[in-house]
Symmetry: C2
Subunit: 297 residues, 2 copies
């Protein structure tokens, strides 16, 4: 198969300035790439203007089939999602074969390629990017349901192939040179991958790949009024993708007590202390490290 049209998206969250900056930079500096048709898009212009993640609802949770079909919804992001779906989609039969969606995080996630679907092209891209960047992390968040056609709410779910990219740590609302640099490099490496794929010129890849697979979400301890009563312990802070063992500190409470990890089996925390998840009381997620074959057909 050939990928001809690629959408490069920034500002899906309006306070993640890196993607916004790179859309504005690259649409002039890189209007096309070796024959690929590129489309640049600022996904959430109102949130960008207000330097907020979203106005009414998280745009990157607004692309479920049900939400896209409900034309009665009043929220800004549910409407914006439909506009983007008209432009890049429709979901399931999209005009754009491949979507790069540039995100940042306050967590120490380094450069992380998140994929919610394991298919041959996603795995080849993971291999290719891993060779270009030793410290690339691969994070697999499977659909909630075990149904293989299970629906996803992410902007990237409009097309089958793509790169949802997370880079951090970086505070919201600002630009960091190092974060811009590595994000731009990863976007350019991805475009090069697509041209190699189109020309049947991909290099040989290893037989297997190490990825982190999402297992569960860990919430902050809260009191009866819903207020957080403990925060991430300093020993866990910034330790995304580092092994967490039984007995390791995870939280520190308002009354100065340490809470320890009780899981019998070691796990790997991800999205530790992401600011955007506080409103849902999400402290971090747990993943397991698995090896998967790259020989999908």
């Amino acid at each position: 198969m050939k990928i001809n049209k690629v959408a490069i998206v920034g500002g899906t969250h309006g306070n993640e300035n890196t993607g916004v900056f790179l859309v504005n930079k690259l649409k002039n500096a890189l209007p096309e790439y070796k024959g690929l048709k590129l489309k640049y898009l600022l996904a959430n212009p109102m949130a960008i203007k207000n330097t907020r993640r979203f106005m009414d609802h998280d745009l990157n949770r607004s692309f479920g089939i049900k939400e896209l079909q409900n034309i009665e919804s009043s929220e800004y992001e549910f409407n914006r999602a439909k506009v983007i779906n008209y432009e890049l989609g429709p979901k399931g039969n999209p005009k754009y074969d491949f979507i790069i969606d540039m995100h940042t995080t306050t967590s120490n996630m380094g450069v992380t390629f998140i994929f919610s679907e394991i298919n041959k092209i996603n795995l080849q891209l993971a291999c290719y990017l891993s060779e270009k960047n030793d410290s690339l992390n691969l994070y697999y968040h499977p659909p909630e349901s075990k149904d293989v056609d299970s629906d996803q709410p992410y902007l990237n779910s409009i097309s089958t192939f793509g790169l949802p990219l997370e880079v951090g740590p970086v505070p919201n609302g600002l630009l960091r040179h190092d974060v811009i640099e590595i994000t731009e490099k990863t976007v350019r490496d991805t475009l090069e991958f697509i041209t190699l794929l189109n020309n049947d010129s991909l290099p040989d890849f290893p037989d297997s790949l190490e990825i982190f697979q999402y297992i569960e979400t860990i919430l902050f301890p809260c009191d009866d009024d819903g207020n957080i009563t403990a925060y991430i312990h300093k020993d866990l802070q910034d330790k995304d993708f580092c092994q967490l063992k039984q007995g390791d500190p995870i939280f520190y409470t308002v009354d100065n007590k340490t809470i320890y990890f009780e899981n019998e089996f070691p796990m790997y925390p991800v999205f530790v202390n992401e600011a955007a998840y506080y409103y849902q009381d999400i402290a971090f997620s747990l993943s397991k490290k698995i090896s998967i074959s790259t020989h999908l057909t």
Copy 2:
């Protein structure tokens, strides 16, 4: 003189979670301190609820005499400032002798005591806190006007004495264990200082103190439409209070050029890449390092 009543304030900026957390924690854990009357205050409850710096106007720029006197103003923060001024002030003749205002910053400011007035008690406190914390930074931002009675717009300006505290780097909208810990320690050290001051039991201090004095504000380069065309160079990122010499990189442009520091004399940058200052296009400030006598009368 004796200081009897101390106000401990958090959430003057609603997305700086550390101060909010510590007000809620300490009002229970530390309702008084060795006879000192303590008042805890969440300064901007609407902004805290929305995890935003402010709703209509920066609360910490709303305490000028002119703004406090104008009862016609509609903005949330101008009204909130008046409420706080009734409660802790009135400015010039306050009910509270000393205000601790806890802030955080996305800049690598470490623990910084900002003082906008050099007086004996502020200098003694600076000496005391410096002995408790080797890496404490002292930053003096003099009033805009040379008039000694020049007005200040900060919450702290309600009282003559106080500790406007900045701790960073930390992203907005989250809690970090290390930042909470050092902020709480500095608050407790300050309360101990006040009791020693009240009992004439302060230790001897060195004859002079090294402080960083604000000189000027450096703006981001912008195009004709007001869009930022360069960001902080990675060599300057996180280098608050480090010497900046002629020829050192300061910005990196959208068309991949480095902009260098042209000042003939070395300076010390502060508030490098603070997210909250982007809307005013402020990139960083410059300060000079000076030594001042601690023997004020």
